[in-house]
C-alpha cells in the first residue's frame, strides 16, 4: 500500500504537464477531465491510503517511500523520499479532497475564460507542490514544494495578467513571502550545519540530544523557521500580501486560503515542533504573533466592503488562531482548526464566488443585498460556513475546533490569561464581521440583478463542504461534553499531547459558556447594527474619531503605508540614484581600457614589412639586454 505514496504528488504533476503540453490543442471537456481527474484520483488514493494507514497502525508510525536520490556531494545526500504520518495524512486529505472540490467548482466558474487550460495547469501544479511540501521526508524536498507553492501563487494571483493591478498584487505576494523564505533558507542552512543532514526524522531525534531547552542556536533556528512560516501564512508582520491576493480568480483564493499556501506555515511549525519545544522563547513568539494577528486582521475584516477581502482578513485571523494553538503547545488543536477551517473557508470562498459570478463580477457587498431569496442554496451554504466561522455552539464544526484552542490557550501548560483574552475578543470580532457580511449580502433589498443562478457543478461542492463544516467537528469533542478524541488520539503518534494546568481542569464548562456567550453576542451585535436598527451605524459615523479608526482598520492598520514609507520608497530612491549602477562603472572602465589598447595595437598592423622587422629587432634587443642584466 505504501508503494502508492509516490503517485500522490506525481499524478497531479502529470496532470499539470499534460495540460501545459496539450492544453491549447484539446477541448475544454478534455482539459476539465485531466485537471479535475488527476486531483480526484489523488484524493481517492489518499483516502484508500488513509484507511489503510489508520487500520494498519504501522510501527514506527509512518510510511516511507524512497523514490530516488538528488545528488551525493561531500556526505550531503538528500533523497527524494515521501513520508506519510498522521500529520501529513491530515494535510494531504485536506489538500486533495478540498482541492478536488475546488477543481470541480472551477470547471463551471472558469468555463467562459480564455485561459481555461492554463488555469487548470497552474491549479494542478499548485496542488502538486503543496503535496510535495507536506509529504517531503527531508527539508530540502519540503523547500522545493515550498517554493513551488510560492511560484504557483504568483502565477494564479496574476492569472488575469492584462490588468496591471493583478500583476502588482502577484508580485507583492511573491516578494513578501520571499522575505520569509529567505529566513527559512538560512534556518535550513543552520540546521544542516548542526546536524549534517536535512532529514526531518533524524533532526527530530537528534535535536533534544544536541541541545538543551533554550539553547541559543535552537532559538535562532526556531525564529528563522517562524520567519518562513509567518511569510507563507500571512501573519504579522508579513500579512500585507494576503488581502491583495484577492486579485486572482475566486477558486484560487479558496485554494490558497483553505487547502494550500497559507497553511504551509502551520504545517512547518507543527512539523518542526521538536525545535520549537527546545526554544520556548520562539514558541511564545508564535503564540503572541497568532494572538496579535487574529485581533488586527479581525478588526480590518470589520470594515471591508469587498466580500472577498472580508474573507481574506478572516483567513489571516483564523490562521492566527492556529498559530496561537501551536504557540501554546496545543499541536493537535491547531491542526484540527486547520482542517475545519479548510472546510468552511473553502465553502465561504466558493459561495462568495458563486455570488460574484451571478452578479456580473460584483464584489462590493453593499451593492448586493437581498440575495437570500434569489440564491437559496448559496444562502444556506454560506450561512453554514459563516456559522462555523463564527463558532456558533453545538452544531458547527468551527465551535469545537475554536473552543479547543481557546481552552488550551488558557489552561494549557504554556497558556496564559492574556492569550486567552485575545482569543476570546477575537471570537467576538469574528462573530461581528462574519454576520455583518451575511446580513449585508443576503438580507435587505436586492440591489443588483441576477444574471443567472449557479449551476449544479457549483452547488454540489458547496453542499459537500457545508455538510463537512457541520459534522466535521464531531470527531473531536470537549472533555466535559462527549469526550470524543479521535482526532487528537490519531495525531499523538506524531505530535505530543498537551498537558493541562490542573487548577483549571474542572472549570472548563465555565469558559466554554463564556466563549459561547461572547461569540453569540458578536452575532447579535451584527444583527443589531446591520439588520434591526441600521440607524445605529449613522450614529457611529457621525463621530469623527470612530470614522478615522474605521478608516485605519480598513487600510489594514496602515501596514501598507508603513512598508511603503520604510522599505519601498527608500529602495526606489536608492535605485533611482543608482540608475547607472556604480559597480557597473568598474566593468565599463575595464572594457574601455581594453578597447584603447586594442586600438593602439591595431595601429601597429600597418602591413609595412620594415616596421615588422624593426619590431622584431627592437624586441630581440630588449630580450638580449634584459638577459644580460645581472
Amino acid at each position: 500500500m505504501e508503494d502508492l505514496l509516490w503517485s500522490i504528488p506525481a499524478l497531479t504533476f502529470a496532470g499539470a504537464v499534460l495540460l501545459i503540453l496539450l492544453g491549447a490543442r484539446i477541448s475544454r471537456t478534455a482539459v476539465a477531465i485531466i485537471g479535475v481527474g488527476s486531483v480526484g484520483l489523488t484524493a481517492l488514493i489518499t483516502i484508500i491510503l488513509g484507511i489503510n494507514f489508520i487500520s494498519a497502525h504501522p510501527t514506527p508510525p509512518y510510511y516511507r517511500q524512497e523514490v530516488g536520490q538528488w545528488f551525493d556531494v561531500a556526505g550531503f545526500n538528500p533523497s527524494i523520499a515521501f513520508h506519510l504520518d498522521a500529520l501529513s495524512l491530515v494535510f494531504i486529505f485536506v489538500i486533495t479532497f478540498v482541492g478536488f472540490l475546488i477543481h470541480l467548482y472551477s470547471t463551471a466558474y472558469m468555463a467562459p475564460d480564455e485561459g481555461f487550460a492554463r488555469f487548470f495547469a497552474y491549479l494542478n501544479l499548485f496542488v502538486g507542490s503543496m503535496l510535495v511540501l507536506v509529504l517531503a521526508d527531508n527539508l530540502l524536498l519540503l523547500y522545493l514544494g515550498w517554493e513551488g507553492v510560492g511560484l504557483c501563487s504568483y502565477l494564479l494571483i496574476g492569472f488575469w495578467y492584462t490588468e496591471p493591478a493583478n500583476g502588482y498584487a502577484a508580485r507583492k505576494a511573491f516578494i513578501t513571502t520571499r522575505v520569509g523564505d529567505t529566513a527559512l533558507a538560512i534556518g535550513l542552512f543552520m540546521l544542516f550545519q548542526n546536524f549534517g543532514t536535512l532529514h526531518i526524522q533524524t533532526i527530530a531525534t537528534e535535536a533534544p540530544q544536541l541541545w538543551g531547552v533554550g539553547t541559543q542556536t535552537a532559538v535562532i533556528i526556531a525564529f528563522l523557521l517562524l520567519g518562513g512560516a509567518v511569510g507563507k501564512s500571512g501573519q504579522l508582520p508579513l500579512q500585507t500580501w494576503l488581502p491583495d491576493a484577492m486579485a486572482g480568480p475566486t477558486p484560487v483564493s479558496a485554494l490558497i486560503h483553505a487547502a494550500t499556501m497559507v497553511t504551509a506555515g502551520v504545517y512547518l511549525i507543527a512539523r518542526m515542533h521538536v525545535i520549537f519545544d527546545l526554544a520556548p522563547a520562539a514558541q511564545l513568539t508564535v503564540a503572541i504573533i497568532g494572538a496579535v494577528t487574529l485581533l488586527l486582521a479581525g478588526c480590518s475584516a470589520l470594515t471591508q466592503s469587498d466580500l472577498k477581502r472580508v474573507l481574506a482578513y478572516s483567513t489571516i485571523s483564523q490562521i492566527g488562531y492556529m498559530f496561537l494553538a501551536l504557540g501554546v503547545g496545543a499541536w493537535s488543536a491547531g491542526i484540527f482548526h486547520f482542517m475545519i477551517h479548510a472546510f468552511f473557508k473553502a465553502l465561504l470562498f466558493l459561495s462568495a464566488g458563486a455570488i460574484i459570478i451571478s452578479l456580473h463580477h460584483e464584489q462590493n457587498m453593499f451593492k448586493m443585498g437581498g440575495l437570500r431569496k434569489l440564491m437559496p442554496v448559496v444562502f444556506w451554504t454560506f450561512l453554514i460556513g459563516s456559522a462555523s466561522l463564527a463558532a456558533l455552539p453545538l452544531i458547527t464544526a468551527g465551535f469545537y475546533s475554536k473552543d479547543q484552542i481557546l481552552w488550551y490557550s488558557l489552561a494549557g501548560e504554556r497558556g496564559s490569561f492574556w492569550l486567552y483574552l485575545a482569543g476570546l475578543f477575537g471570537a467576538f470580532i469574528t462573530g461581528v464581521y462574519t454576520f455583518r457580511m451575511v446580513f449585508i449580502t443576503f438580507y435587505g433589498e436586492p440591489k443588483t440583478q441576477l444574471s443567472h443562478p449557479p449551476g449544479k457543478v457549483i452547488t454540489i461542492p458547496l453542499v459537500i463542504l457545508a455538510v463537512l463544516s457541520l459534522v466535521g467537528g464531531f470527531i473531536e469533542l470537549p472533555h466535559n461534553f462527549g469526550h470524543v478524541t479521535i482526532f487528537s488520539d490519531f495525531l499523538t503518534s506524531t505530535l505530543p499531547a498537551i498537558t493541562i494546568n490542573e487548577n483549571l481542569g474542572n472549570l472548563e464548562w465555565l469558559f466554554q459558556v463564556l466563549a459561547v456567550m461572547v461569540s453569540s453576542s458578536g452575532v447579535y451585535l451584527a444583527y443589531l447594527f446591520f439588520l434591526k436598527r441600521p440607524a445605529l451605524q449613522n450614529i457611529l459615523d457621525q463621530s469623527g474619531l470612530v470614522r478615522s479608526i474605521l478608516q485605519f482598520w480598513y487600510s489594514g492598520w496602515g501596514f501598507d503605508k508603513l512598508y511603503d514609507l520604510v522599505l519601498v520608497r527608500p529602495f526606489v530612491y536608492l535605485a533611482t540614484i543608482n540608475k547607472n549602477d556604480v559597480i557597473d562603472k568598474i566593468y565599463t572602465a575595464i572594457a574601455a581600457l581594453a578597447r584603447t589598447f586594442n586600438r593602439g595595437l591595431t595601429q601597429t598592423q600597418s602591413g609595412i614589412l620594415r616596421w615588422y622587422m624593426m619590431g622584431i629587432v627592437v624586441g630581440a634587443l630588449l630580450i638580449i639586454t634584459l638577459s644580460l642584466l645581472p
Binding site: 598592423q605 600597418s606 602591413g607 609595412i608 614589412l609 620594415r610 622587422m613 624593426m614 629587432v617
Partner: protein, 102 residues
C-alpha cells in the same frame, strides 16, 4: 704561421650581421631585402664555423650545412613569393604590399 684569433672571425661575423640587418631595415626593394637576409644567415654561419674551428668540434660545420640548406629553401620560397608579388603589384617595393595588413 700564426692562427687567426677567434675574435677576428667573430667581429667579421658581427659586422656582416649588422650590415645585413641594417639593409633589411632600410631597403625598400624586396629582392635586396632577401639578399640582406642571406647576408645575415651567412654571418651566423661564419660565427658557427669560427666557433667549431676554435674548439675543434664538428658541430659548427654541421650547423653551417643546416643553415645553407635552410637558406636554399628560404630563397626558393622567397623568390616564388616575390614573383607573385610582382605579378600582382607590378613593383618590387615592399611598402606597396601593405594592403595585406589585417
Amino acid at each position: 704561421m700564426n692562427p687567426i684569433p677567434m675574435e677576428h672571425g667573430l667581429v667579421l661575423a658581427g659586422i656582416l650581421f649588422m650590415l645585413g640587418l641594417i639593409s633589411v631595415l632600410i631597403r625598400r626593394n624586396i629582392i635586396f631585402m632577401l639578399v640582406s637576409v642571406e647576408i645575415m644567415l651567412n654571418a651566423a654561419g661564419l660565427a658557427f664555423i669560427v666557433a667549431g674551428a676554435r674548439w675543434a668540434q664538428p658541430e659548427g660545420q654541421v650547423m653551417f650545412i643546416f643553415i645553407i640548406t635552410m637558406a636554399a629553401a628560404e630563397v626558393s620560397v622567397g623568390l616564388a613569393l616575390i614573383l607573385q608579388l610582382y605579378h600582382q603589384l607590378k613593383t618590387l617595393d615592399s611598402d606597396a604590399a601593405n594592403q595585406m595588413h589585417g
